[in-house]
Subunit: 169 residues, 2 copies
Protein backbone atom coordinates (compact mmCIF):
# COMPACT_ATOMS: atom_id res chain seq x y z
CA UNK A 1 0.00 0.00 0.00
CA UNK A 2 0.94 3.65 -0.38
CA UNK A 3 1.85 5.61 2.74
CA UNK A 4 -0.20 8.70 3.53
CA UNK A 5 2.39 11.37 4.47
CA UNK A 6 2.28 14.27 2.05
CA UNK A 7 -1.37 13.74 1.12
CA UNK A 8 -2.34 17.18 2.37
CA UNK A 9 -0.16 19.02 -0.09
CA UNK A 10 -1.52 17.07 -3.05
CA UNK A 11 -5.20 17.33 -2.22
CA UNK A 12 -6.79 20.02 -4.38
CA UNK A 13 -10.30 20.14 -2.98
CA UNK A 14 -11.63 21.53 0.27
CA UNK A 15 -13.13 19.57 3.18
CA UNK A 16 -16.32 21.53 2.41
CA UNK A 17 -16.82 19.73 -0.91
CA UNK A 18 -16.42 16.30 0.70
CA UNK A 19 -18.84 17.31 3.45
CA UNK A 20 -21.49 18.63 1.07
CA UNK A 21 -21.31 15.46 -1.07
CA UNK A 22 -21.66 13.19 1.96
CA UNK A 23 -24.62 15.20 3.27
CA UNK A 24 -26.45 13.66 0.31
CA UNK A 25 -25.33 10.17 1.32
CA UNK A 26 -27.15 8.10 3.97
CA UNK A 27 -25.59 5.59 6.32
CA UNK A 28 -26.55 3.02 8.92
CA UNK A 29 -25.70 3.85 12.53
CA UNK A 30 -23.42 1.70 14.70
CA UNK A 31 -21.81 1.98 18.11
CA UNK A 32 -18.22 0.80 18.49
CA UNK A 33 -17.00 -0.16 21.99
CA UNK A 34 -13.73 -1.24 23.56
CA UNK A 35 -12.35 -1.94 27.01
CA UNK A 36 -9.76 0.69 27.91
CA UNK A 37 -7.39 0.91 30.88
CA UNK A 38 -9.75 3.49 32.39
CA UNK A 39 -12.94 1.52 31.74
CA UNK A 40 -15.26 0.99 28.79
CA UNK A 41 -15.24 3.44 25.87
CA UNK A 42 -17.52 3.75 22.88
CA UNK A 43 -18.67 6.03 20.09
CA UNK A 44 -21.35 6.33 17.43
CA UNK A 45 -20.09 5.56 13.91
CA UNK A 46 -21.67 6.00 10.49
CA UNK A 47 -18.64 4.57 8.68
CA UNK A 48 -19.14 0.89 9.49
CA UNK A 49 -18.91 -1.37 6.44
CA UNK A 50 -18.44 -5.03 5.65
CA UNK A 51 -15.12 -5.52 3.83
CA UNK A 52 -14.24 -9.15 3.13
CA UNK A 53 -16.10 -12.47 3.25
CA UNK A 54 -13.04 -14.73 3.40
CA UNK A 55 -11.77 -14.06 6.00
CA UNK A 56 -14.75 -12.14 7.48
CA UNK A 57 -13.55 -8.55 7.97
CA UNK A 58 -15.22 -5.20 8.59
CA UNK A 59 -13.95 -1.64 8.93
CA UNK A 60 -14.88 1.65 10.57
CA UNK A 61 -13.25 5.06 10.89
CA UNK A 62 -12.23 6.93 14.03
CA UNK A 63 -10.72 10.39 14.40
CA UNK A 64 -7.40 10.56 16.18
CA UNK A 65 -8.86 13.40 18.25
CA UNK A 66 -11.83 11.28 19.45
CA UNK A 67 -12.17 10.57 23.17
CA UNK A 68 -12.29 6.83 22.42
CA UNK A 69 -9.16 6.84 20.26
CA UNK A 70 -6.57 6.24 23.03
CA UNK A 71 -8.39 3.03 24.03
CA UNK A 72 -9.20 1.95 20.45
CA UNK A 73 -5.57 2.58 19.42
CA UNK A 74 -4.46 -0.10 21.89
CA UNK A 75 -7.43 -2.47 22.00
CA UNK A 76 -7.00 -6.05 20.84
CA UNK A 77 -10.75 -6.42 20.33
CA UNK A 78 -13.69 -4.11 19.68
CA UNK A 79 -17.46 -4.43 19.90
CA UNK A 80 -19.59 -3.49 16.88
CA UNK A 81 -23.34 -2.89 17.32
CA UNK A 82 -25.99 -2.28 14.64
CA UNK A 83 -28.58 0.13 16.07
CA UNK A 84 -32.31 -0.14 15.47
CA UNK A 85 -34.66 2.74 14.64
CA UNK A 86 -35.77 2.79 18.30
CA UNK A 87 -32.22 3.57 19.50
CA UNK A 88 -31.86 7.20 18.50
CA UNK A 89 -31.26 8.19 22.15
CA UNK A 90 -28.47 5.63 22.50
CA UNK A 91 -26.85 6.90 19.29
CA UNK A 92 -27.03 10.43 20.69
CA UNK A 93 -25.46 9.41 24.01
CA UNK A 94 -22.51 7.77 22.25
CA UNK A 95 -22.07 10.82 19.99
CA UNK A 96 -22.34 13.54 22.66
CA UNK A 97 -19.15 14.94 24.14
CA UNK A 98 -18.94 14.51 27.90
CA UNK A 99 -21.95 12.16 28.20
CA UNK A 100 -21.83 9.27 30.69
CA UNK A 101 -22.07 6.72 27.90
CA UNK A 102 -22.14 3.55 30.03
CA UNK A 103 -24.26 4.84 32.91
CA UNK A 104 -28.06 4.41 33.01
CA UNK A 105 -30.08 4.19 30.83
CA UNK A 106 -27.39 2.40 28.76
CA UNK A 107 -27.71 -1.37 29.33
CA UNK A 108 -24.54 -3.33 28.68
CA UNK A 109 -22.49 -6.29 29.88
CA UNK A 110 -18.96 -7.53 29.62
CA UNK A 111 -18.99 -9.80 26.57
CA UNK A 112 -16.46 -12.09 24.86
CA UNK A 113 -12.80 -10.98 25.16
CA UNK A 114 -13.90 -8.51 27.86
CA UNK A 115 -15.49 -6.22 25.29
CA UNK A 116 -18.52 -4.12 26.38
CA UNK A 117 -21.63 -5.46 24.60
CA UNK A 118 -24.74 -3.25 24.40
CA UNK A 119 -28.16 -4.82 24.93
CA UNK A 120 -31.16 -4.40 22.66
CA UNK A 121 -29.32 -3.83 19.39
CA UNK A 122 -30.25 -5.43 16.05
CA UNK A 123 -26.94 -7.31 15.94
CA UNK A 124 -23.49 -7.23 17.52
CA UNK A 125 -20.04 -8.59 16.82
CA UNK A 126 -16.85 -8.84 18.82
CA UNK A 127 -13.94 -8.43 16.43
CA UNK A 128 -10.18 -8.72 16.66
CA UNK A 129 -8.40 -5.59 15.43
CA UNK A 130 -6.03 -6.51 12.60
CA UNK A 131 -4.96 -3.08 11.30
CA UNK A 132 -5.29 0.64 12.01
CA UNK A 133 -4.63 2.30 8.67
CA UNK A 134 -3.52 5.97 8.76
CA UNK A 135 -5.86 8.13 6.68
CA UNK A 136 -5.46 11.87 7.25
CA UNK A 137 -7.00 12.94 10.56
CA UNK A 138 -8.62 9.50 11.01
CA UNK A 139 -7.64 5.85 11.16
CA UNK A 140 -9.45 3.07 9.32
CA UNK A 141 -9.76 0.19 11.77
CA UNK A 142 -9.88 -3.22 10.06
CA UNK A 143 -11.18 -6.03 12.26
CA UNK A 144 -11.95 -9.74 11.95
CA UNK A 145 -15.17 -11.29 13.24
CA UNK A 146 -14.71 -13.52 16.27
CA UNK A 147 -18.10 -13.72 18.06
CA UNK A 148 -21.54 -12.26 17.56
CA UNK A 149 -25.30 -12.42 17.49
CA UNK A 150 -27.72 -11.27 14.82
CA UNK A 151 -31.03 -12.27 16.36
CA UNK A 152 -32.38 -8.75 16.97
CA UNK A 153 -35.52 -7.70 15.13
CA UNK A 154 -36.46 -4.37 13.59
CA UNK A 155 -35.44 -1.74 11.10
CA UNK A 156 -32.04 -0.04 11.24
CA UNK A 157 -31.38 3.48 12.44
CA UNK A 158 -30.06 5.74 9.65
CA UNK A 159 -28.23 9.06 9.53
CA UNK A 160 -28.72 11.63 6.74
CA UNK A 161 -28.20 15.39 6.49
CA UNK A 162 -27.27 15.74 10.13
CA UNK A 163 -30.21 13.88 11.65
CA UNK A 164 -31.48 10.39 12.35
CA UNK A 165 -33.96 8.67 10.05
CA UNK A 166 -35.12 5.18 9.12
CA UNK A 167 -36.22 3.16 6.10
CA UNK A 168 -39.39 3.91 4.19
CA UNK A 169 -40.35 0.23 3.85
CA UNK B 1 -0.15 -0.82 9.77
CA UNK B 2 -0.35 -4.55 10.21
CA UNK B 3 -0.11 -6.72 7.12
CA UNK B 4 -2.98 -9.09 6.42
CA UNK B 5 -1.29 -12.43 5.58
CA UNK B 6 -2.27 -15.08 8.06
CA UNK B 7 -5.58 -13.51 8.95
CA UNK B 8 -7.53 -16.46 7.66
CA UNK B 9 -6.03 -18.89 10.12
CA UNK B 10 -6.79 -16.64 13.08
CA UNK B 11 -10.36 -15.76 12.19
CA UNK B 12 -12.71 -17.81 14.32
CA UNK B 13 -16.08 -16.85 12.90
CA UNK B 14 -17.73 -17.78 9.63
CA UNK B 15 -18.55 -15.47 6.72
CA UNK B 16 -22.18 -16.39 7.46
CA UNK B 17 -22.15 -14.52 10.79
CA UNK B 18 -20.72 -11.37 9.18
CA UNK B 19 -23.31 -11.61 6.41
CA UNK B 20 -26.25 -12.06 8.76
CA UNK B 21 -25.16 -9.10 10.92
CA UNK B 22 -24.76 -6.83 7.88
CA UNK B 23 -28.18 -7.86 6.54
CA UNK B 24 -29.50 -5.82 9.49
CA UNK B 25 -27.36 -2.84 8.50
CA UNK B 26 -28.45 -0.34 5.84
CA UNK B 27 -26.19 1.60 3.50
CA UNK B 28 -26.31 4.33 0.89
CA UNK B 29 -25.71 3.27 -2.71
CA UNK B 30 -22.88 4.65 -4.86
CA UNK B 31 -21.41 3.89 -8.26
CA UNK B 32 -17.62 3.93 -8.62
CA UNK B 33 -16.14 4.48 -12.11
CA UNK B 34 -12.67 4.52 -13.64
CA UNK B 35 -11.12 4.77 -17.08
CA UNK B 36 -9.43 1.50 -17.97
CA UNK B 37 -7.24 0.55 -20.91
CA UNK B 38 -10.24 -1.18 -22.46
CA UNK B 39 -12.69 1.66 -21.81
CA UNK B 40 -14.78 2.86 -18.89
CA UNK B 41 -15.51 0.53 -15.97
CA UNK B 42 -17.81 0.92 -13.01
CA UNK B 43 -19.61 -0.92 -10.23
CA UNK B 44 -22.29 -0.39 -7.59
CA UNK B 45 -20.87 -0.05 -4.06
CA UNK B 46 -22.54 0.01 -0.65
CA UNK B 47 -19.23 0.47 1.17
CA UNK B 48 -18.60 4.13 0.38
CA UNK B 49 -17.73 6.22 3.42
CA UNK B 50 -16.18 9.57 4.23
CA UNK B 51 -12.88 9.03 6.06
CA UNK B 52 -10.95 12.23 6.79
CA UNK B 53 -11.73 15.96 6.64
CA UNK B 54 -8.13 17.20 6.54
CA UNK B 55 -7.11 16.19 3.96
CA UNK B 56 -10.51 15.23 2.45
CA UNK B 57 -10.45 11.46 1.95
CA UNK B 58 -13.04 8.75 1.32
CA UNK B 59 -12.91 4.98 0.99
CA UNK B 60 -14.77 2.12 -0.67
CA UNK B 61 -14.22 -1.62 -0.99
CA UNK B 62 -13.79 -3.71 -4.12
CA UNK B 63 -13.40 -7.47 -4.47
CA UNK B 64 -10.26 -8.62 -6.24
CA UNK B 65 -12.49 -10.87 -8.33
CA UNK B 66 -14.68 -7.99 -9.55
CA UNK B 67 -14.74 -7.20 -13.27
CA UNK B 68 -13.75 -3.59 -12.50
CA UNK B 69 -10.77 -4.54 -10.33
CA UNK B 70 -8.10 -4.75 -13.07
CA UNK B 71 -8.86 -1.13 -14.08
CA UNK B 72 -9.34 0.14 -10.50
CA UNK B 73 -6.09 -1.56 -9.45
CA UNK B 74 -4.19 0.66 -11.90
CA UNK B 75 -6.32 3.82 -12.03
CA UNK B 76 -4.82 7.10 -10.85
CA UNK B 77 -8.30 8.57 -10.39
CA UNK B 78 -11.81 7.25 -9.76
CA UNK B 79 -15.32 8.69 -10.02
CA UNK B 80 -17.65 8.45 -7.01
CA UNK B 81 -21.40 8.98 -7.48
CA UNK B 82 -24.14 9.21 -4.82
CA UNK B 83 -27.31 7.70 -6.27
CA UNK B 84 -30.80 9.08 -5.72
CA UNK B 85 -33.90 7.04 -4.89
CA UNK B 86 -34.96 7.31 -8.56
CA UNK B 87 -31.79 5.50 -9.73
CA UNK B 88 -32.55 1.94 -8.74
CA UNK B 89 -32.26 0.81 -12.38
CA UNK B 90 -28.82 2.42 -12.72
CA UNK B 91 -27.68 0.71 -9.50
CA UNK B 92 -28.92 -2.59 -10.91
CA UNK B 93 -27.08 -2.10 -14.20
CA UNK B 94 -23.79 -1.42 -12.41
CA UNK B 95 -24.30 -4.45 -10.16
CA UNK B 96 -25.35 -6.98 -12.82
CA UNK B 97 -22.72 -9.26 -14.28
CA UNK B 98 -22.39 -8.95 -18.05
CA UNK B 99 -24.54 -5.80 -18.36
CA UNK B 100 -23.50 -3.08 -20.86
CA UNK B 101 -22.98 -0.57 -18.06
CA UNK B 102 -22.08 2.48 -20.19
CA UNK B 103 -24.47 1.89 -23.08
CA UNK B 104 -27.98 3.43 -23.19
CA UNK B 105 -29.86 4.26 -21.05
CA UNK B 106 -26.76 5.17 -18.96
CA UNK B 107 -25.91 8.86 -19.54
CA UNK B 108 -22.30 9.78 -18.85
CA UNK B 109 -19.46 11.98 -20.03
CA UNK B 110 -15.71 12.09 -19.74
CA UNK B 111 -15.09 14.27 -16.67
CA UNK B 112 -12.01 15.69 -14.95
CA UNK B 113 -8.86 13.53 -15.21
CA UNK B 114 -10.61 11.51 -17.94
CA UNK B 115 -12.84 9.80 -15.37
CA UNK B 116 -16.36 8.71 -16.49
CA UNK B 117 -18.94 10.92 -14.73
CA UNK B 118 -22.57 9.76 -14.57
CA UNK B 119 -25.35 12.30 -15.13
CA UNK B 120 -28.37 12.77 -12.89
CA UNK B 121 -26.80 11.69 -9.60
CA UNK B 122 -27.23 13.51 -6.26
CA UNK B 123 -23.52 14.31 -6.12
CA UNK B 124 -20.23 13.18 -7.67
CA UNK B 125 -16.53 13.43 -6.95
CA UNK B 126 -13.40 12.72 -8.92
CA UNK B 127 -10.78 11.46 -6.50
CA UNK B 128 -7.10 10.59 -6.70
CA UNK B 129 -6.35 7.07 -5.46
CA UNK B 130 -3.84 7.25 -2.62
CA UNK B 131 -3.87 3.65 -1.31
CA UNK B 132 -5.29 0.20 -2.04
CA UNK B 133 -5.19 -1.57 1.31
CA UNK B 134 -5.24 -5.40 1.22
CA UNK B 135 -8.14 -6.76 3.28
CA UNK B 136 -8.87 -10.44 2.72
CA UNK B 137 -10.64 -11.01 -0.61
CA UNK B 138 -11.15 -7.24 -1.07
CA UNK B 139 -9.10 -4.06 -1.21
CA UNK B 140 -10.04 -0.87 0.63
CA UNK B 141 -9.43 1.97 -1.82
CA UNK B 142 -8.53 5.25 -0.11
CA UNK B 143 -8.90 8.33 -2.32
CA UNK B 144 -8.51 12.10 -2.00
CA UNK B 145 -11.11 14.54 -3.32
CA UNK B 146 -9.97 16.54 -6.36
CA UNK B 147 -13.13 17.74 -8.17
CA UNK B 148 -16.86 17.38 -7.69
CA UNK B 149 -20.38 18.68 -7.64
CA UNK B 150 -23.08 18.32 -5.00
CA UNK B 151 -25.92 20.28 -6.57
CA UNK B 152 -28.26 17.32 -7.20
CA UNK B 153 -31.59 17.25 -5.36
CA UNK B 154 -33.49 14.37 -3.85
CA UNK B 155 -33.35 11.56 -1.36
CA UNK B 156 -30.60 8.91 -1.47
CA UNK B 157 -31.03 5.34 -2.66
CA UNK B 158 -30.47 2.80 0.13
CA UNK B 159 -29.73 -0.93 0.26
CA UNK B 160 -30.99 -3.20 3.04
CA UNK B 161 -31.62 -6.95 3.30
CA UNK B 162 -30.81 -7.58 -0.33
CA UNK B 163 -33.04 -4.92 -1.87
CA UNK B 164 -33.20 -1.21 -2.59
CA UNK B 165 -35.06 1.18 -0.31
CA UNK B 166 -35.14 4.84 0.62
CA UNK B 167 -35.59 7.11 3.63
CA UNK B 168 -38.87 7.34 5.53
CA UNK B 169 -38.71 11.15 5.86
Amino acid sequence: MTATPGLGARSLASPGLLRSVFRRHAAGVAVITAQGDGGPVGFTATSLTSVSAEPPLLSFGIGTGASSWPAVSEAGHVGVHILGEHQEALAGTFARSGADRFGPPTVWREGPEGVPVLEGVLAWLVCRVVARVPAGDHRIVLAGVVHGDSSGEGRPLLYHQGRFNTLRD
